[in-house]
Structure formats: structure tokens, C-alpha cells
């Protein structure tokens, strides 16, 4: 009888201690999760800002200006276009 009680007591203590540790572990992990989520938000914001930046650089107005003025590109006239593909009857 006493033996059983002692075993149960030890079991109880072990369980109680493991509860404490796992609780602590879970809180630590949760704090980590929170940090990661904050990072996600931060990166989301950064992504949005980069998208804005990218589309500002890639504005057709700007691209066209550079193509025309710096690279001296121009659209070929209709006479200088040759259409490839299936032979026309």
C-alpha cells in the first residue's frame, strides 16, 4: 500500500515538473513565433515599398524616354517590317 503511494507520489511530482517545463517551452516558442510574425509584417511592408519603387522605375514614361533619348531607339516604319510566318497565298 505504502509502496503504491510512494510510486504515485513520485509520478505526480514528475508530471507536475514536466507540466512546468512544457509550459515554459510553449511560452518560449510562442514568443519566437510572435517575433517571426513581426518579421513577416516587416517584410510585407518592405515588399510593398519595393513594389512601389520597382513600378516607379519601370514607368512606361520613363522607359520610353530612356529608350528614345539615351539609347536612340525608334519604332520601325511599316515599310521596314517583314512579317514572318505561314506563307500567304
Amino acid at each position: 500500500m505504502t509502496r503504491a503511494n510512494v510510486i504515485l507520489l513520485v509520478l505526480l511530482v514528475v508530471c507536475a515538473l514536466s507540466l512546468v517545463t512544457s509550459r515554459h517551452q510553449s511560452r518560449k516558442l510562442f514568443a519566437e513565433l510572435e517575433r517571426e510574425q513581426a518579421l513577416t509584417r516587416k517584410y510585407d511592408i518592405e515588399y510593398g515599398q519595393l513594389q512601389i519603387e520597382q513600378s516607379t522605375w519601370a514607368m512606361p514614361t520613363r522607359v520610353e524616354k530612356i529608350a528614345r533619348e539615351q539609347l536612340r531607339m525608334q519604332l520601325p516604319g511599316a515599310g521596314r517590317i517583314e512579317v514572318m510566318g505561314e506563307a500567304r497565298p
Binding site: R27, Q49, I52, T56, P60, T61, A78, G79, V83
Partner: protein, 573 residues
């Protein structure tokens, strides 16, 4: 020891009960106190306790992005700072003020003026980039604070301005799609209760008080490249013709999506402090105009469909005038006997009026109404109008005759472009959409397929030599369309000097992909015919758009035949 044991001390008789009683009393007091705390002060204590470890925190939700059909961003929200101050509580040395001005990138004079204007609370600058706001915070000036807010950026600028619209304070849509789709785009911030440890880290989620609702992204049907192209060409045409305003719509002929919608004058949505209200209007959807001759194909289609005539029926338009009651209709140029095809090609008012008068008002009304005239195009755009098509019962003959060539009826440009889906397709009117659609909506039959094909052929003749719009031709593609030149209404009568020039057409004729409608308001550089003002815009936009979309050519590259020495065939409606 023994002596003590032998003579026991006799305690006073009351001592034990007294001690016992006192202790009991203390216990009762303790019990009472605890009962009291448990019973009456419970709520207060619970709150005090939980405030030591739990917090309610706001969960931000931001507004959804607006993107074009390929996912290119047209409107994005990003958090920025707003720097504000309480001038009365401020206590800054001149050096600090100078540093503040530098950090905010404001001239010192502007800063001091803002601080001295007498108000209790003043925004020094908004938006401020987060890193600049950090530099401001580092100065630690008393009475200067910042707060986070979402700012909406529009990378498309003025090119997209009237479609996308903009948001006002608190990220709420005010114009355009931003207003129309507020409930879809708008996010609702939530809040949750958490447990924090002594370092302020969140260690446990207790409950979500209000789940945040993130704004959803919205894909428009707009193709940024075509939109830019449309805007650029429209701007060039308006500058060259010294016009007051203009609009251009590109529809996908197969799905009915609005792939480009340009309006001028425009404004910059990122900096709209000086933008006039007038520039914010999306003319193509909110303004109506009398279309002029671009209405003729519908009259002809109604007559063909009713079996009244065939494309080769001869209509006598001599002597170029037609008198109905007290009013007389004129042609801009005299022709004799014309086939129905030529009535469209030469844009004869008299011919169109005669054809209209051969129809009953109810038949003509039905075709026009089925083609979407007088009905809003249902794009969901705020302020969209449906134009005016009066009920057939009230038509007098002269009105029926003028309506045949687009006077006495009003439309908006999107409606007009949409009506041409009837001819681009096989007689079906397609629904239009500003939003990207996965599957094209079901069309509604308006005229028989063979009627649509016959009218399509007539519309192709318009751009060929002898028609009113040879300048609408595109190298490598067969195009079809119709010009319109309408006198503007000036009060109750028609103006003699103000016109609206328009052109609506589609290409490639063998398998129509795009419909382009151009409207130029009050061209003021001498030319005002649709064929001279609007057709070249159509040609350059259509040609570039088809090449951009890699649409296979259906004509040789040298197909454009401009009659250089022959004067343009004119039309006066």
C-alpha cells in the same frame, strides 16, 4: 527543575479563553475580509491583476492592392509616419528647430510658419518616410510626436488617375474604383488579448477579441501597357488639335473587358492638392455626348435585320438635302444615288435619315435599346450614366431622322464602344467589365449574325479610299470603324463652331480582338472631322496595341493606301 514541577504556577482562569477568543475573532475578521474581497471587490481586483500580465493589442489590417490584369500594382498602401506637434508645449532651441527642419526636409521658414499659425495641433509633415521619422524622434524635442498611418501610393500616376481614383483620410475610397470597391478593398483592424512576460514579450494568446479583416487585392481588366499607350496617343492628339478634352476606350472584343480607359485632362493622384475637381471626372463613363454618325450603323442594322433592304439597295440622296416638316437635313457633300453600303462609307445623313424613316419608331428603338443605348453599361463605376434614348412613342419624324445619324440621342464613350461589340462579334452585345473576368459573360443577341457581318463589311469600307476615315488604316491589319463629327449642344441649340470628333472601330476584321473608341472634345486647330482628328489616334493606338498583343496580321504590311491628293471625304455629323 524539580522545584518548579512541584509548585505549578496557576494561571489566571480567564487567560486561555481570552487568547482563544481573540484568535477566533481575528480569524473571523480575516474570513470576513476575504469574503468581502471575493464578493464585492472582485471585479476591480481581477482587472488589476490581469493588467499586470495581459494586454489588448491592436492588430492592423491594411487595404488591399489594386493591380492590373498582369498583377502590376496600381495602388499600394504602405505604412508611413505623420509628424505632428503641439506648438504650445514645444520647447526647442533654434538649433533643434534647424535640425528638425533638415530631418523633415522642409525649409526652416515653412516649419516656423506652421508652428506659429496659432492652432493647438499641427501636422508638420505627412507622409514622412519611416527612416526620416526615426531621425525626428532621435532629436527628442518636447511636443513633437509621430504616428503611423497608411499612405496609398499610385505608381501609375496620372495615366491611371480617373479609373483607380484615390482614397482620403483613414484610407477610405473617395473616387473611382477605390470608392466603388471600398468594401472589398478596405481592411478592418482587429484586436486580441495576450499575456506578456516581464520583458514585454508576448507569451500566450488568450483570446481574439475582434478578428482583423485584411483588405483583399483587386485585379482590374486594365492592361498597363495599353493604358499607357492610349494615354500617350490621346495626349498627343489633344495637344496637336488644341482640344479641350478627350477620352479613349479599348475593349477586348471577345471578353468585353475594358483593357484601357484614358481621359484627359488628368491629375496626379499622388499629389492632388492642386488638382481641379473637373480633372478627376472619368469622362468616358460619367459624361454623355451626342455621338453623330457613329450611330448610323445601328440604324442600318435595324433596317437590314427587319428585311427592309439589302446592302446593295439603292438610296437616292440627291440633292443632298431632305426636308421634313420645317427642318432640313444636309449632307456635307452631295452625292447622288448611293447603295446602303455607300451611305455608311460616305456617311450620308440624308441616306441614313431616309432609311430610318422607312422603319417604325418601335423597331428602331428596340434595336438601339438592345444595343445598350439609354441603359447604363453596368460597370459599377461611381457616377456612371446611361445616356438618353427617349421612348419611341414620343418620337416625331424629324427626331427619328436625326437620331439615325446620332443627334437627339446621347451616349457615353464606353457605351458606344460596347455597342460595337454587336458588329465585332456576330450580332451579340457583350457585357463590359472594369474588373478582370475569368470567363466572358454571356452576350445578348441584338441583330442576326448575317446582318452583323454585312455591317462589318460596310464599316471596313469606311477606312478604305473613298470612305470618311482612310487615316484609320493600320499597317498589316484590316480595320473597320465609323467616324462621328457632332455639333456640340450649346444650351438648347447646336453650336456652329464647337464639335466633338469621334471614331469607333475594331480590328483585325477577320477575327476582331480589340475595339477602340476615341472622342476628342472641341478640337480647336482648324480640323474637326472625326476622320481627320480621331481616326489617326485610332490608327496609332490600334496598330501598336495589336503588335503589343502579338495578334497575327491579316493583311500585307503595305496595305495602307492613303489618297494624298484627293480631299478627305467629309461628313457633318
Amino acid at each position: 527543575m524539580r522545584a518548579l514541577a512541584q509548585s505549578p504556577v496557576r494561571l489566571p482562569q480567564l487567560r486561555a479563553p481570552l487568547v482563544f477568543g481573540t484568535l477566533l475573532l481575528l480569524f473571523v475578521a480575516l474570513l470576513g475580509r476575504s469574503l468581502f474581497l471575493q464578493r464585492f471587490d472582485n471585479a476591480f481586483l481581477q482587472e488589476q491583476g490581469s493588467s499586470r500580465y495581459s494586454r489588448d493589442i491592436e492588430v492592423p489590417a491594411h487595404r488591399g492592392r489594386i493591380v492590373d490584369r498582369f498583377g502590376e500594382p496600381l495602388a499600394i498602401s504602405t505604412p508611413v509616419k505623420a509628424v505632428w506637434a503641439w506648438p504650445e508645449k514645444m520647447d526647442a532651441t533654434p538649433e533643434q528647430l534647424r535640425a528638425l527642419a533638415t530631418a523633415l526636409e522642409l525649409p526652416l521658414a515653412t516649419l516656423t510658419r506652421k508652428l506659429a499659425d496659432g492652432s493647438e495641433f499641427v501636422y508638420l509633415k505627412r507622409p514622412v518616410a519611416p527612416d526620416a521619422a526615426e531621425r525626428v524622434a532621435a532629436l527628442q524635442i518636447k511636443g513633437v510626436h509621430d504616428e503611423t498611418e497608411y499612405w496609398r501610393y499610385y505608381p501609375g500616376g496620372e495615366v491611371m488617375s480617373q479609373i483607380v481614383g484615390f482614397t482620403g483620410d483613414h484610407d477610405i475610397g473617395q473616387e473611382g474604383i477605390e470608392l466603388a470597391q471600398q468594401s472589398w478593398l478596405g481592411g478592418k483592424p482587429g484586436s486580441r488579448r495576450v499575456i506578456i512576460n516581464r520583458r514585454g514579450e508576448i507569451v500566450e494568446d488568450v483570446a481574439s477579441i475582434r478578428a482583423p479583416q485584411e483588405g483583399r487585392d483587386l485585379a482590374l481588366a486594365i492592361d498597363s501597357r495599353l493604358q499607357y499607350l492610349a494615354f500617350r496617343e490621346l495626349k498627343a492628339a489633344i495637344d496637336a488639335n488644341r482640344a479641350k478634352a478627350g477620352a479613349l476606350v479599348i475593349l477586348d472584343a471577345t471578353t468585353g473587358e475594358i483593357v484601357a480607359l484614358a481621359n484627359l485632362p488628368a491629375y496626379n493622384p499622388n499629389n492632388r492638392s492642386r488638382a481641379a475637381r473637373d480633372r478627376m471626372r472619368n469622362r468616358a463613363l460619367t459624361d454623355t455626348f451626342e455621338p453623330g454618325s457613329s450611330m448610323k450603323p445601328f440604324t442600318i442594322a435595324a433596317a437590314l435585320d427587319a428585311g427592309r433592304l439589302t446592302p446593295s439597295t439603292i438610296i437616292d440622296t440627291a440633292p443632298g438635302t431632305l426636308t421634313i416638316g420645317t427642318a432640313t437635313i444636309h449632307d456635307a457633300h452631295r452625292e447622288g444615288a448611293l447603295t446602303v453600303e455607300q451611305v455608311i462609307q460616305k456617311s450620308s445623313n440624308v441616306g441614313a435619315a431616309k432609311i430610318a424613316l422607312s422603319l417604325s419608331p418601335a423597331t428602331m428603338w428596340q434595336t438601339l435599346s438592345d444595343a445598350g443605348f439609354g441603359v447604363t453599361p453596368q460597370t459599377g463605376f461611381p457616377g456612371e450614366v446611361g445616356g438618353r434614348l427617349r421612348p419611341a412613342k414620343s418620337w416625331r419624324p424629324i427626331e427619328q431622322a436625326t437620331m439615325a445619324y446620332g443627334h437627339g440621342i446621347s451616349v457615353n464613350l464606353v457605351q458606344l464602344a460596347r455597342a460595337y461589340t454587336v458588329f465585332a462579334g456576330d450580332g451579340e452585345l457583350k457585357p463590359v467589365s472594369l474588373l478582370k473576368v475569368d470567363a466572358p459573360g454571356a452576350g445578348r443577341p441584338v441583330v442576326k449574325p448575317e446582318t452583323a457581318r454585312a455591317v462589318r463589311h460596310m464599316l471596313e469600307m469606311v477606312v478604305l479610299p473613298g470612305g470618311t476615315a482612310p487615316k484609320a488604316q493600320v499597317a498589316g491589319y484590316r480595320v473597320a470603324g465609323k467616324t462621328g463629327t457632332a455639333h456640340k449642344l450649346d444650351g438648347k441649340s447646336y453650336s456652329e463652331s464647337q464639335y466633338i470628333a469621334s471614331f469607333v472601330g475594331f480590328a483585325p476584321v477577320s477575327n476582331p480582338r480589340l475595339i477602340v473608341a476615341v472622342m476628342i472634345d472641341e478640337p480647336g486647330a482648324g480640323q474637326y472631322y472625326g476622320g481627320a482628328v480621331a481616326a489617326p489616334v485610332f490608327s496609332s493606338v490600334m496598330g501598336a496595341a495589336l503588335r503589343l498583343l502579338s495578334v497575327p496580321t491579316d493583311a500585307p504590311m503595305n496595305n495602307v493606301i492613303l489618297p494624298p491628293d484627293v480631299p478627305d471625304v467629309r461628313e457633318e455629323t
